[in-house]
C-alpha cells in the first residue's frame, strides 16, 4: 500500500470521499492482514515493497506493515474522516484548509508505513510544517504565537531526530555497509557506548512530539489555538508520531541504551503524567483542559515504553490508539460546542445537556473514556500499561506505577467537574436556550469515533493480539 491518497485539494467533497476511501482501505488492509496472520504468515512485515530511491546513499523507498503500524494507520484514517467531517462548514479558504489537512495525513501515513529512516524522516517533516499554516491562519486566540512556538519546538525535535539518524548512518558507514534501513541498522550490533550516544537524540527528538515533560509546552498553546480539526490531528495523530518513533525507531534500534536510560524515561513520564493532571485541574477553558490532559495521557505511552515489558509495550500502543480516538472526539465535541456557545470557559456554560442532548452525551462518553471507565477504550489501554508495569518487581518500578495510577483519581476529578459544570445545572445564559444540536456531519463524525471507542473497549483482544505478535518479534531481545 503506497500513499493511496489522491490529493484532495479541489473541495471538501473530494477530501471526504478520499478520507472515506482511505478508511475503507485501512479496514480492508486490516482484514487481509489478519487473514494472512491466520494463515500462519509469520513474516514481520506484510505488504512489503521496496524501491531504490537514491542508490548512492542506499536510500530506499521501503514500506511495509506490521501490527503496530497497522493500528496506527487505522487510527489515522478514523481521525482523518472525523476531522474532515467536523470542518465541513469551514468558510475561510476551505480549499487550502483541506489540502493542508490531507498533507498532514499523508505525512502521518507515510511515517507509519516506512521502514527506511530517510523515507520516514521525509514524511515526519512533511507532517510538521503544514501545522503552522493550519494554526496561524484558521486558529483562534494568540494563534500566531502558538503556531510559531509549536512549529519551532517540533522542528527542534525533528532536528534532534535528524542528528540521531545521521549518526546511525555514520556508524553504518564505519561498518562499511552504509544504510538507512531500520532492519540493517538493527543488525549492525552497535556497541553500548554508541547506542548511549545516539539514544537521547532519537528519544528526546521523538519525545518532543509526544509532549514528553519538559518539552510539552507547545502542546497546550498549540492545541488550544488550533482549529478543531487541527487539534484533533495534533493530539490524535501527531503526538502518536512521537510515541511510535520512540518505540519503533529508538527502542528497537538501540535496545541496550533503552535499558540503560529506562529509569530516566520512567521518571520523566511520571512527572508528565502527574504534572499534566494537576495543571488540568486548574483550567477553566475546556479546550485547554483537554490539551493538558493529553500531556498527562501521553505520559502513559512513554511510561509503557520505559517499563520495557511486553505487556506494558502493548499497553503503550493501545494507549496511543485509544487516546488518539478519545482526544479527537473530545476536541471535536468541544469545537462543536464552541461554535454554538462562542465560549470555551467551562463555568460560563451550564445545563447544555438540556439544549443539545446529542453533543452532551458524546461529551460525557469522551470524558468517561478519558478517566478510564471499563467498557471504553481508555480502561483497556491504561489497565494494560499498569499490569505491564507492575510485572517489574522492584521498588522503583512499582512506586512509579503507583504514582501513575494515582493520577487517575485526579483525572476523574477534573473530568467529572468539567462534565458537571458544562452539562448539568441551570442554563446560565439566556441565549444558550436556543442553541441547536448536532448537524448530520457532526453526528457522523462523533458516531464513528464513539463506535471505535466502544469496539476497542468491549472487544480489545483482536487489537492487542495484533500488537502483541509484532511486539514479540521486534522486542524479543529488549524486554525484561
Amino acid at each position: 500500500m503506497g500513499i493511496l491518497f489522491v490529493k484532495g485539494q479541489t473541495a471538501r467533497v473530494i477530501a471526504l470521499a478520499g478520507s472515506f476511501l482511505q478508511l475503507g482501505l485501512a479496514l480492508f488492509l486490516l482484514f487481509v492482514y489478519m487473514g494472512e496472520r491466520e494463515a500462519e504468515n509469520t513474516a514481520l512485515l506484510l505488504f512489503e515493497e521496496s524501491h531504490v530511491w537514491f542508490l548512492q546513499w542506499n536510500i530506499n523507498y521501503h514500506i511495509g506493515i506490521d501490527g503496530i503500524s497497522l493500528s496506527m494507520i487505522l487510527l489515522t484514517s478514523i481521525v482523518l474522516v472525523a476531522g474532515v467531517l467536523v470542518s465541513w462548514n469551514i468558510e475561510y479558504q476551505p480549499k487550502e484548509f483541506f489540502f493542508l489537512l490531507v498533507m498532514l495525513a499523508m505525512g502521518a501515513f507515510g511515517f507509519f508505513i516506512s521502514v527506511d529512516l530517510f523515507t520516514q524522516f521525509f514524511f515526519f517533516e512533511l507532517a510538521v510544517v503544514p501545522k503552522y499554516l493550519l494554526i496561524a491562519i484558521w486558529g483562534s486566540g494568540k494563534k500566531e504565537y502558538s503556531a510559531m512556538k509549536l512549529v519551532l519546538m517540533l522542528m527542534g525535535g525533528s532536528a534532534l531526530v535528524l542528528i540521531g539518524i545521521l549518526s546511525l548512518y555514520y556508524f553504518s558507514v564505519q561498518a562499511r555497509t552504509p544504510t538507512f534501513s531500520l532492519f540493517e541498522i538493527a543488525k549492525l550490533g552497535l556497541s553500548p557506548e554508541k547506542q548511549m550516544f545516539i539514544f537521547p537524540f532519537l528519544f528526546v527528538g521523538f519525545g518532543v512530539l509526544s509532549a514528553m515533560f519538559p518539552f510539552h509546552t507547545w502542546a497546550p498553546d498549540g492545541h488550544s489555538s488550533a482549529p478543531t480539526a487541527a487539534s484533533m490531528f495534533l493530539a490524535g495523530i501527531s503526538m502518536k508520531l512521537g510515541g511510535y518513533g520512540c518505540l519503533r525507531v529508538a527502542t528497537v534500534l538501540l535496545p541496550e541504551a533503552a535499558r540503560e536510560y529506562s529509569t530516566y524515561i520512567i521518571i520523566l513520564a511520571c512527572i508528565g503524567i502527574l504534572y499534566g493532571a494537576f495543571v488540568t485541574l486548574k483550567q477553566r477553558d475546556i479546550k485547554l483542559m483537554n490539551a493538558y490532559s493529553s500531556v498527562s495521557h501521553c505520559g502513559f505511552v512513554l511510561l509503557g515504553i520505559g517499563m520495557l515489558t511486553k505487556t506494558a509495550m502493548v499497553g503503550a500502543v493501545l494507549q496511543m490508539v485509544s487516546h488518539g480516538v478519545m482526544t479527537a472526539l473530545f476536541f471535536a465535541v468541544i469545537g462543536m460546542i464552541y461554535e454554538r456557545s462562542h465560549t470555551r470557559m467551562g463555568d460560563e456554560m451550564g445545563g447544555l445537556l438540556k439544549v443539545m442532548p446529542f453533543l452532551g452525551s458524546v461529551f460525557i462518553i469522551a470524558g468517561l473514556t478519558s478517566l478510564g471507565l471499563p467498557g471504553f477504550s481508555g480502561f483497556v489501554a491504561e489497565m494494560t500499561v499498569f499490569v505491564g508495569s507492575w510485572q517489574v518487581p522492584d521498588f522503583f518500578h512499582r512506586s512509579a506505577t503507583i504514582i501513575a495510577t494515582a493520577s487517575i483519581v485526579v483525572t476523574a476529578v477534573y473530568i467529572l467537574r468539567a462534565v458537571g459544570i458544562t452539562l448539568w445545572g441551570p442554563i446560565k445564559k439566556k441565549e444558550f436556550e436556543n442553541l441547536s444540536d448536532a448537524t448530520w456531519n457532526e453526528k457522523i463524525a462523533s458516531g464513528i469515533l464513539v463506535l471505535s471507542i466502544v469496539i476497542m473497549g468491549t472487544m480489545p483482544l483482536w487489537l492487542s493480539d495484533l500488537i502483541l505478535k509484532t511486539t514479540e518479534t521486534l522486542f524479543g531481545t529488549v524486554i525484561k
Binding site: Q56, L166, Q174
Partner: protein, 471 residues
Amino acid sequence: MNLLNYISLMRFEVVSLGVIVLLLLMKIFSEKLNVSLILGFVNFSLLAILVSGFIGHPHGSVFGGMFLNDGTLMLEKSVITFATLLISLQGHNWLKKHENYLEFYLLLFSILNGMYFMISSGNFLMFYLGLEMATIPLTALVAFDFNRMRSAESAGKMILSSAFSSAILLFGLSLLYGMTGSLSFQEVAMNFSSSPLMSFALVLLFVGFAFKISMVPFHLWTADVYEGSPVAITSFLSVVSKGASVFIFMTILYKVFPMAHGIWVNILVLLSAVTMTIGNLFAIRQTNIKRFLAFSSITQAGYILIGVASASAQSMASVIYFLLIYAFSNIGAFTVVSLIADKTGKENIDDYKGLYKTNPLLSIALLLAVFSLAGIPPTAGFFGKLFLLTSGASAGLITLIIIASLNMIISLYYYLRIIKAMFVDKNETPIEKFISDTPAKIALVICVAGILVVGFINFIFEYIHSLSFGL
C-alpha cells in the same frame, strides 16, 4: 588536434564570445534595434549553450594544460548557464525599459565567459584571469541602476572588497609559485610539501575564496551589495557567482591540495559552522527582503561548505545538486521579489503582508521557494540539504551536523516570518493585484517545477554523481 576539436572542447567559451562580438557589432552599426528580438536572441543563445553542454563527452586540455575540460566541468558550467538563463528571463521586463540593455548583456556574457574559463582552468594564472574577467564586469552590473545612489554605492563597496580579496589571493599564489616553481595545478600538487609557508599560502587562498563565497568573517559586503544592486544582479550574485566560485574551489581543493586535507578540513568545518550561525542570526533581524535573502544566502553557503569539507564523490555530487536546487529556489524567490519591486517598488517584508489575498499564485510560488530554502519536504531543498548533511555524516563530521541541524530550526523561524506576512497578517494597503510579464512567468514556472520535481527524480542525482570525483 584540429580546429573542430578545439571548438568542441571550448564550445561554451566560443559561443559566448561569439555572442559578445555580435552584440558589440549590433551596438556599433545599427541605430534602431528591436528590443524584444535582441532579448529573444540572447535568451536563445543561452539556451543553445546550455543544450550544447549535453552533447558528446569532450575531454582534454588546450593551451598546454592551461584550459581543461571534461564532463564534470561541463556539468558545472551548464548549471551556471541555466541559472543565468533563468535570471535573464526574470529580468526581461526590467531590461526592456532600460536604455542600456545591450551593454547589460555584453557585460553578462563577459562574466559568463570569465566564469567558464575560471571553472575550466588548469593553472592558477588562468584561474586568476577568469576570476577577474568575471568580477570586474560584475561590479559594473551592480551599478546598473543608474538613477539609484545605492546601486553606485554597492558597486563601490564591491570593487573595493573584491580588489582586496584578489590581492590576498595573489599573495597566496605568489607564495605557492615561490615554493613549487610552477602555477600549474598538476605541478603544484606534485611538489606539495607540508611546510608552514605552504599552509600559510593555503590560508591566503582561502581568504580569497571566502570573499567570493561570502563566508563569515568575510561576508560583510554581501548584504549591502545585495540590497543596492538591481534584483536581477542580486540573484546573479547569490546563485551564479557563488556557484562558480564553489565549483572551482572544490576543484582546487581536491586536485591541488589533496595532501593538505587535514589542514583544510578543519578550517572548512570551523568556517562552515560560523558562517551558518552568523548568517542565521543576522537574517532574523532583517526587514528588507533583499538583505534578508542575502543573509539567508550566507547561511546556505555554510551548508554548502559541509559538502565541500566532506570531500567524497558523493559530497561533491551533493554540492552540485544542492547548487542546482538552490538556483531554482533562490531565483524563484528573487523572481517574485523582482516582479513586486518592478510593479510597486516595495522591498520590505512588511509590504508583503496580505499578498496571498491579492496575488495568490505569486505567494504560493514564494512559499515554495522559501520552503525549499528552509529545507522542508516535499520541496527539492529538503533533499539538497539532507544530502549535504548525509555526506557530512558519512565523513564523520558529527559536531558540524549537530550545529547545522540546530541552525535549521533558527532558519525556519525567519523563513516562516515571510510566510506569516503573506498568508496570515492582515494589511489595509496590500500590494495590488497585477499581471506579470510572460518571460518572468516562464522563469517562475520553471523554478516552481524544479522545486517540486527535482528531489523526486533520482536520475538527476545519479547523473551528477556519475560525473563527480572526491579526494
